[in-house]
């Protein structure tokens, strides 16, 4: 345990501290340890993992809805594309840039950029549709230089470079763990075909044979993306996700 007392100062101490305060001020005025980034004309270089606006790759999307489910601000809504698949849209009027969605995306369809300095005139503009998330957007850039923070054992100093920082980062998208859905209790199957109807990859098939009044259910492990929607929606909870 350490005791911190408030010091008692006499006149000489006071004078000493007056002088030290004034001299520090004078020193800083002469040789300041300036750390200002002149923002509109230069940007601070952010690391690649910076959480900014998101880009979306429809090729990698498996429409698993996980980004939408995990979003704490409910900023991601899935919208049906002309092809009938559901793709995410982001409302930046709600997005808190926690990037839980990017971490959740099993196919690596969402990725981050360093774009973050944006202002909108209306709230409606802040809604970003899927189509707008595929190509990197263009933002107003007045910057001609980029600032790096260099931290060594002495101090923080600024390194200024005359270049435009690339805002699009190139990171390897995550592969996720390949999963497949299986049935663990065939007897309790209702044959309601919900799994078939919710599956977007066409992996689940249900064929009704009128003659024998049986339904043939099958999950094609090849086609199954492991999105887990059938597992979640099965009303009898007889489906499970297992490793491929």
């Amino acid at each position: 345990m350490k005791k911190v007392g408030t010091p008692e100062y006499d006149l000489s101490d006071k004078l000493k501290y007056h002088v030290s305060a004034l001299s520090t001020a004078a020193k800083e005025m002469a040789l300041p340890l300036n750390i200002t980034t002149h923002y509109p004309r230069e940007r601070k270089r952010q690391p690649d993992c910076f959480r900014g606006y998101m880009l979306f790759d429809p090729e990698r999307c498996i429409s698993c809805f996980q980004c939408s489910f995990v979003c704490p601000a409910n900023a991601i809504w899935m919208k049906d594309a002309p092809s009938g698949r559901y793709y995410p849209t982001v409302d930046y009027g709600k997005c808190i840039f926690c990037h839980f969605c990017i971490d959740s995306c099993p196919g690596g369809a969402l990725k981050t950029t360093k774009i973050h300095d944006v202002a909108y005139k209306t709230m409606d503009e802040m809604f970003t549709s899927t189509e707008e998330m595929i190509e990197p957007p263009e933002i107003i850039r007045e910057d001609v230089g980029v600032v790096d923070y260099v931290i060594d054992k002495e101090d923080l100093s600024l390194k200024r470079t005359k270049e435009k920082d690339a805002l699009i980062v190139d990171v390897e998208p995550s592969q996720g763990v390949p999963m497949v859905s299986v049935c663990v209790d065939r007897g309790s199957c209702l044959a309601c075909k919900v799994c078939d109807r919710i599956c977007e990859s066409g992996a689940v098939s249900s064929v009704v044979e009128e003659a024998t009044m049986t339904v043939k259910m099958a999950i094609d492990a090849e086609k199954c993306t492991g999105c887990g929607l059938c597992v979640k929606e099965c009303s009898m909870q007889i489906l499970r996700l297992v490793r491929k």
Partner: protein
């Protein structure tokens, strides 16, 4: 109709118009209208890191002389009144920028019962996304506004539309339902008995049974260091007296009400602990009782534990439980006059999430249709009416006052002395407790981080530890150290923020700037770790989201050395400044007895001489493996509290240093296998499996309480789980600032009017943290 502005039309369209535009462009003086946590980033935008003054925007205190409001995030119903009022006070032409998602569509608080949309209250020029926004985007908003003033219409972001791939049209698919599972008529048990290896607990249980003979219904050990006593409402006050008198349980850590509507009852519980006896410091004893839902009345324990006072007031508003004996019953304390009644009752539903975009369906937002009519919530009438008789004046400070933050305090001042101070919190009450009941466990991680955006990792850790505690997850060694490092960095960050605000309250802008520079330095590795400046959400149950590279560790290591240079400058210009010492020394003294009586926590308790630090008393993560000392002081004045925290910064730097050294030698996963289950690949980076791993967390049945030492003190989370739902049944958060409010007001009484700001700064009171 006659044009009322006829005589100044020459300014609008005449030859002088360009001059007017030009001057407005370069002289946007934002008035200091801090509304929520984005204020922290606003401070950075106007501090030395980015220096908004370069653009001619000078942060000025008073609405009358400024022409620009930056609405920093959440506008609660109470704050909406202030916003409207401040906007009305400002002279034309005036501009409004809204920063932060809360001010737009609500952000993470979109379905809160207490927030409004600023755009419904004042005309908004620009919206800046982010939560919290970065200083760069804030300045982009200012630039965009400057362009708009000059008549330049440019979009700051231009999206390129790309056609989506179209191979074949799928037949119509079903849409999945919500991932949230609510158990039907859940069983809420406060005292689920657990077998733990805790000898002292058995002894204590025995003592309790003996001491409280005939007064209790049951005494249960609910976990390590946790005991629950069930009693009847009639015996409650007697049990409390016995606990305080005989057993030395001298303060209340939390008061909680749980409503179980299907069982027609309220569970009212008081979590008490002791600062006086060393063995009892870690022990939390929960006294609880059940009362019927009709006409719920229960004796208040304010007479026994004064620290329960404000929490009782708050719960009275939330649930309608009448604490007999508390003088605030029937009044508003935290909520605004137009907030829905009894919002935390289960009957009050907030809008549900939607997962699928439907055109033309406007989501339901909870905003008042009309702007509020009365501008302020009334001050306690007796307080005002009796003032003139005793020759006192009533001075309300805040919520919009250059030195108030988002708190309103009404003073009665006699001469220059504060006779009485009446706090009015709730200007940033974003109803986290209600929202948490409607979010998955994992979704609450960023929610609770927003308690204190300048101390994010500690808040994050406090919540996550509660989950881990309940799920009985052992965190890997490497993650433990990394979490300790993060939490200590966050502590340094918070203390420097407080120190900056402290100096600002003395009018010392240089001290503020120096603190912000140091903060900027500490934020840098946080950005490299998590990608976010002050909302990392990086700590998750079982460990961290991803591993930290050696480069960043090196950077953190460098910072532990580099920080001294600038810290020394700060010391010589502010800390040792004779004026600072004259202002802070001997002011706002809180004696040890008072501090315990008011239930103070954290450095503010220690400054009054109580040796209590959860990091030492009940170590978590790697705190038992690092060497550090608890800092206490005897003076209990403003200077003592301030210097104590500066000393703690030194200790924190020491911990970070040790942590970095240790973590370099420890290799291994950063996520526990207990929680990963099948997804073992994710043990060093959760990317790709986040929802699969965390989406369906279900806590075992029972009540889970953890205490964690955040920067400003004990953060208590109580989660009630029914064991079936994947959302919490009830979450109770007691944040350090909330507990410190009482002592803060006590310390201010009897001091001079100008000393209030010394006291305010010395308590590091952060309203978003207090109001939750």
């Amino acid at each position: 109709m006659e044009n009322p502005n006829e005589h100044i039309d020459f300014l609008e369209s005449g030859p002088l118009a360009p001059l007017k535009k030009w001057s407005a462009k370069w002289s946007l003086w934002p008035c200091h209208f801090i509304t929520s946590c984005c204020g922290v980033e606003l401070a950075h935008a106007f501090a030395c890191g980015y220096d908004g003054e370069r653009l001619g925007t000078l942060n000025l205190g008073i609405s009358r002389q400024s022409n620009f409001i930056i609405v920093e995030g959440t506008i609660t119903r109470k704050m909406a009144r202030a916003l409207q009022f401040v906007y009305g006070q400002m002279p034309d032409p005036k501009y409004v920028n809204v920063i932060g998602a809360c001010g737009e569509r609500g952000g993470i608080f979109w379905n809160s019962y207490n927030i409004t949309h600023p755009s419904d209250i004042v005309p908004v020029d620009f919206f800046v996304p982010g939560c919290p926004v970065t200083p760069e985007s804030l300045l982009r908003g200012v630039r965009a506004l400057q362009d708009k003033i000059m008549g330049v219409d440019k979009k700051t972001i231009e999206f390129k539309k790309v056609e989506l791939p179209f191979e074949e049209k799928l037949e119509e698919r079903m849409v999945p339902t919500s991932p949230k599972i609510y158990a039907p008529t859940p069983e809420i048990k406060v005292d689920v008995k657990r077998v733990v290896d805790w000898d002292f607990g058995k002894e204590l249980e025995h003592t309790l049974r003996k001491e409280l003979k005939g007064l209790f219904e049951s005494v249960t050990i609910t976990g390590k260091d946790r005991i629950a006593i069930r009693t009847t409402p009639e015996n409650l006050i007697e049990v409390a007296r016995k606990l305080k008198g005989q057993m030395n349980f001298d303060h209340v850590k939390s008061v909680n009400v749980i409503q179980v509507p299907h069982e027609r009852k309220f569970i009212v519980e008081y979590v008490t602990s002791s600062y006086g006896i060393e063995e009892l410091m870690t022990v939390l004893v929960t006294i609880y009782t059940e009362i019927g839902i009709k006409n719920p009345k229960i004796p208040s324990l304010t007479s026994v534990w004064e620290s329960a006072n404000y929490s009782e007031r708050e719960l009275h508003e939330f649930f309608g439980v009448w604490f007999e004996g508390n003088d605030w019953m029937g009044r508003k304390f935290v909520l605004a006059p137009d907030t829905p009644d009894l919002p935390l009752r289960k009957e009050y539903k907030i809008p549900e999430e939607r997962y699928v975009f439907e055109k033309d369906v406007e989501p339901e937002f909870m905003v008042p249709i009309e702007p509020p009519k009365d501008l302020y919530t009334p001050i306690w009438e007796e307080f005002v009416e009796t003032a003139p008789a005793s020759d006192e004046i009533v001075v309300p400070i805040g919520p919009h006052h250059p030195g108030s933050g988002h708190l309103r305090v009404t003073f009665r001042i006699k001469g220059d002395r504060i006779v009485d101070a009446l706090p009015e919190p709730g200007f940033v009450h974003r109803s986290m407790e209600k929202l948490a009941e409607n979010k998955l466990y994992i979704q609450n991680v960023p929610l609770f981080e927003r308690l204190a955006i300048n101390d994010p990792a500690s808040m994050n850790l406090a919540y996550v530890r509660t989950l881990e505690n309940a799920l009985d997850v052992e965190v890997p060694e490497r993650a433990k150290y990394l979490r300790t490092i993060l939490s200590e960095l966050s502590r340094i960050e918070a203390f420097y923020y407080d120190a900056g605000i402290f100096s600002l309250f003395f009018g010392h802008t240089t001290g503020f700037m120096y603190c912000m520079a140091i903060r900027e330095m500490i934020i840098e590795p946080l950005v490299h770790i998590s990608g976010s400046r002050s909302g990392p959400s990086f700590i998750v149950p079982g460990g961290l989201r991803r591993d930290i590279s050696d480069d960043v560790l090196g950077m953190i290591d460098n910072i532990t050395f580099a920080i001294h240079k600038r810290a020394k400058k700060f010391e010589s210009i502010f800390v040792n400044n004779p004026v600072t010492i004259a202002r802070a020394k001997g002011v706002g003294v809180l004696t040890k007895e008072d501090a315990i009586r008011c239930g103070m926590v954290g450095p503010f308790l220690r400054a009054s001489g109580v040796n209590y630090d959860i990091r030492k008393v009940a170590p978590y993560d790697a705190y038992d493996k690092v060497d550090f000392e608890v800092t206490t002081g005897d003076d209990g004045d403003c200077l003592g509290r301030f210097l104590g925290r500066l000393e703690e910064i030194r200790e924190s730097v020491k911990i970070v240093k040790q942590g970095v050294d240790a973590v370099r030698d420890i290799k291994g996963p950063i996520l526990s296998e207990d929680i990963l289950g099948e997804y073992k690949e994710a043990s060093s980076d959760i990317k790709g499996s986040f929802f699969r791993v965390f989406g369906n967390l279900v806590l075992p049945k029972g009540e889970w309480t953890t205490i964690t030492e955040a920067a400003r003190g004990t953060t208590l989370f109580t989660i009630n789980s029914d064991g079936e739902s994947n959302v919490p049944y009830r979450v109770r958060v007691i944040s350090p600032s909330w507990m410190n409010l009482k002592g803060f007001m006590e310390a201010a009484k009897g001091e001079r009017y100008a000393d209030f700001w010394a006291v305010y700064g010395s308590f590091g009171y952060f309203p978003p943290e207090a109001d939750r």
